[in-house]
């Protein structure tokens, strides 16, 4: 029972990549001084529901929480969902009992349809100078839709101006393989395959166990991360979820329909028939995959680092230096050198999930609520959320914010307790905020992640390997944002998915087809590959799926028009 919900809902939600994940909330029980004037900072309690889970929430009794209450007068009575549950929001809507503030993730459209969310446009304009300054030119991207241009949600899950400092994706190869082969260039599938083959030929076993040249994680929804998404990454496309979107016409179609992707899957089929692909790829559970990775005998994998970092940590912690060298480097591998990996394409501010105010609050309370959010978005609020209390969790030395060594150690080694006591990071997800790499007026970073930190966090083997490739981070090996152009619609997986059954049902159906046929095609003998893949394409060309693609195309066109980013 314990893990029932957790296990299935999250995957299903992620599988659709558009966040069918939901949220909910009960009655709004306590609302403090309901009639308080909009201006004062007298005590007031707002209820909040978030569709994410957060076991560290302790009712704002932490350091940061206390300061927030002191400055704004606001106390939050927060409730967090479990396991991406989708039922609470439905119950909330059915019973008409909403919390004051809500972070509904993928369920925004349900709430909008029920008339539960307040249009924030005027409130921001009149009462929220910080929020206005923060989103500045991206304000268009906050609008709900072409037909309803209200702002219901402030996107708080993404930091404005967020820069990633390191690459966690691409194609992974063990540092030990690179070392033994003399750090060859890994640019195309042929390079990658050759490296695997060469090393495998010389080392059929590792520590007495058979070597596995390539293993993928295809357990449930991970199949997208480990098997199907790499197909578009290796053929020069940015991540738009399940779709390929024509940048000229904005027509969307399932990315599997591109002929070049068929060639990518053909490559996996070949890898399988030559015995290079782990036979258990499509039957193993994630923990078996992780166990193999941490045994050090998987030479390569194709995945995102967060999906196997537990196993890599086990390797890093090993006392054997060769094992420490069996962690992975990241390479922008593509089908041939005519494609470029688009992982780091600049898609602009992607918007996405965030926080909204419900109709549960009256006019004055709404003003109070937006002012609260505005305070969180202020420089003062952001620094507090990210760095903590000055003199307690950080000091200012020569105009620079510095985290004392002992605090940093606690943060790294005992993060859960640290978060609970200090409240650092606890309020970021509900605050409109800048991302990593952005600096404030004092020339300090808003967040506590910056490039120097990433580099110092590398282990010695990683540093050595990077040096051989003349790079300081894995990101340096990837094509830069300025070579990759821009996207007029941001990232498609971040757009609200159409709510219409003729979209959702066909989308799920397409998912079922793909998840069944792709493994089948990869595991078939090479002479049968074409038949199976073409059969899949035929299934994906059924009228309802084509109709779904059209609906999504329309959504993209509307978005581009709404954002004013068209050509």
């Amino acid at each position: 029972m314990v893990s029932k919900k957790a296990k299935w809902i999250a995957p299903v939600a992620l599988a659709s990549l558009v966040g069918l994940t939901a949220c909910g909330g009960g009655a709004s029980d306590s609302k403090g001084s309901g009639g308080a004037a909009a201006d004062d900072t007298g005590p007031v309690t707002f209820s909040l529901f978030s569709a994410d889970s957060n076991p560290n929430w302790n009712g704002m009794k932490d350091d940061v929480g206390k300061v927030i209450t002191e400055k704004t007068g606001v106390t939050l009575n927060a409730e967090y969902a479990i396991g991406g549950d989708t039922q609470k929001v439905s119950l909330m809507i059915a019973s008409g009992e909403y919390p004051d503030l809500i972070m509904p993730k993928g369920d925004t459209s349900k709430l909008v349809e029920a008339g539960a969310l307040v249009d924030l446009t005027d409130l921001i304009d009149k009462y929220a100078p910080n929020i206005k300054a923060l989103y500045a030119n991206d304000m268009n991207r906050l609008k709900y839709s072409k037909d309803d241009q209200s702002i219901y949600i402030l996107p708080t899950y993404t930091g404005v101006g967020q820069t990633s400092f390191d690459a966690g994706g691409g194609f992974e190869l063990q540092l030990e393989v690179l070392k033994e082969l003399g750090y060859p260039e890994i640019r195309t599938l042929d390079d990658y395959e050759k490296a695997l083959k060469d090393y495998y030929a010389k080392n059929p076993t590792i520590n007495g166990q058979p070597t596995i040249p390539l293993s993928l994680n295809a357990d449930d929804w991970h199949i997208m991360i480990g098997v199907t998404n790499p197909a578009f990454l290796a053929t020069g496309l940015p991540d738009n979820g399940e779709f390929y979107i024509n940048p000229e016409t904005y027509e969307a179609k399932l990315h599997y329909k591109r002929p070049e992707e068929k060639e990518y899957f053909r490559w996996l089929n070949k890898m399988n028939s030559e015995g290079l692909l782990d036979k258990e790829t499509f039957t193993q559970k994630r923990d078996q995959y992780l166990a193999k990775i941490s045994s050090g005998r998987v030479l390569g994998t194709i995945n995102q680092e967060w999906d196997y970092s537990e196993a890599e940590n086990a390797l890093k912690g090993s006392s054997d230096p060769t094992m420490q060298n069996r962690i992975y480097g990241h390479f922008p591998v593509t089908l041939s050198d005519q494609y470029k990996d688009h992982s780091f394409m600049d898609v602009g501010f992607p918007g996405g999930y965030g926080i909204g105010i419900t109709t549960n609050l009256d006019e004055n309370q709404r003003i109070r609520a937006i002012k609260f959010l505005d305070w969180l978005a202020s420089d003062e609020g952001q620094v507090l959320n990210n760095w903590g209390v000055e003199g307690k969790q950080y000091n200012v030395e020569n105009g620079k914010r510095v985290i004392p060594k002992d605090i940093q150690d606690r943060k790294t080694n005992d993060n859960a307790t640290f978060t609970k006591e200090t409240g650092i990071g606890q309020y970021t997800l509900m605050s409109p905020h800048y991302g990593d790499g952005m600096k404030d007026k004092t020339d300090n970073y808003y967040t506590t992640n910056f490039p120097e930190q990433i580099q110092s966090a590398y282990t010695q083997p990683e540093k050595d390997a990077l040096k051989k490739y003349n790079a300081t981070t894995w990101k340096d090996l990837f094509p830069k944002a300025d070579e990759l152009g821009t996207s007029a619609w941001g990232a498609a997986y971040n757009l609200p998915a159409p709510n219409d059954p003729s979209y959702t049902v066909a989308f799920q159906k397409a998912q079922d087809v793909v998840r069944k046929r792709i493994p089948e095609a990869i595991l078939a003998t090479p002479d049968k590959f074409d038949a199976i893949y073409d059969g899949m394409l035929q299934e994906l060309n059924s009228a309802d799926i084509v109709e779904m693609e059209n609906i999504f195309s329309q959504q993209i066109k509307n978005t581009v028009e709404l954002w004013g980013t068209g050509k």
Partner: protein, 331 residues
């Protein structure tokens, strides 16, 4: 249908049916209200709970109207759009529904057969153990897997059936029964068996408890008498223990038939993978994925109405058959 055992009396009192007949005759002469007054304690003991069940189980059935609407959660009942049988028509014209139905029935019938017989045999054998300590220990241990979640059990099963160092394949190869390890988890036609076997493993001990309780209800004198008559252990099991728990078996069987459609989806979901989709998709997961997850409350409700109706029909049919054949029924 009473099975009389050598020298003993049957567990199910032979007096009961006779008494029933007598009582029936006598009451016919009395007026309804007079009987009711006589049975006032019986009414006191049942009526509150009947009302209770009505409130908590029957009142919410107004929700079934959703299946005949294009239900929108935010709208009041009267503003909903009524669409008749639209959702049922859609359901019955979806191939995936039939696939899910096939898998559900296949797995539930298999687990009905195996999952029913094994705990009974286990209970009977357990009852025959002589050492009290050992008996209690085995019983305690056997029910423990019930508390281990399916996530964990599925992990163990997958590892045991793995082609790389999985215990089952190692054993089969070691005994030269097969030359190459079998990819158990990749074969759709194995899936139902794997689910059933895992289910038996996990729930056998737990499902035994109810039979053990029934066995303790058997009069020990019957065993004494049988032993005096020289009946050996097999005879005692066959002629005393099994008949003694026959009512319980029948009753549980009838209820289980009613639940054929409702087998959950957790184990199928966790043991399955993309390669065996066609054998692992079951109705309840289908209802979730194509109903609730997409906010199609009406569609989801249509599925659950279908389920309920089929369940109730099955239940009444089987109950009727049992009533006629063995006089044992739940209603």
């Amino acid at each position: 249908m009473e099975t009389l055992t050598p020298g003993g009396t049957s567990n199910k009192s032979p007096g009961a049916p006779a008494a029933e007949a007598d009582v029936g005759k006598r009451f016919k002469k009395q007026s309804f209200w007079r009987t009711a007054l006589q049975q006032k304690y019986l009414y006191f003991m049942s009526l509150p709970f009947i009302i209770w069940a009505f409130v908590f189980s029957y009142l919410p059935l107004w929700g079934w109207t959703m299946a005949f609407q294009d239900f929108k959660p935010a709208k009041p009942f009267l503003d909903q759009k009524w669409v008749g049988f639209k959702h049922f028509v859609e359901l019955f014209s979806d191939d995936r529904f039939y696939l899910a139905l096939r898998n559900t029935l296949a797995m539930s019938v298999m687990s009905l057969v195996v999952g029913f017989i094994v705990p009974i045999i286990f209970a009977v054998l357990l009852n025959e153990l002589r050492g009290m300590m050992f008996k209690r220990f085995v019983q305690t241990v056997s029910y423990l897997p019930h508390f281990v979640s399916w996530v964990v059990v599925a992990g163990i099963v997958t590892k045991m059936l793995s082609t790389q160092g999985g215990a089952i394949n190692d054993l089969l190869v070691g005994l030269h029964i097969i030359n190459e390890p079998i990819q158990f988890m990749a074969k759709g036609n194995w899936f139902w068996y794997i689910v059933t076997a895992s289910d038996v493993w996990k729930e056998m001990g737990w499902n035994t408890i109810i039979y053990l309780a029934a066995i303790t209800g058997i009069d020990q004198e019957q065993y004494e008498a049988a032993r005096v008559d020289g009946a050996n252990r097999y005879r005692q099991m066959w002629h005393i223990t099994l008949p003694g728990i026959r009512t319980t078996i029948s009753v549980l069987f009838i209820m289980a038939i009613g639940h054929l459609m409702q087998i959950g989806f957790e184990k199928q979901f966790l043991l399955g993978n993309n390669l065996v989709q066609e054998y692992s998709q079951v109705l309840e997961l289908y209802a979730l994925q194509y109903g609730l997850q997409m906010n199609r409350f009406s569609y989801g409700t249509a599925i659950s109405i279908f389920n309920s109706v089929v369940s109730v029909i099955l239940l009444f049919t089987v109950n009727g058959i049992f009533k006629r054949v063995s006089k044992e029924s739940i209603m």
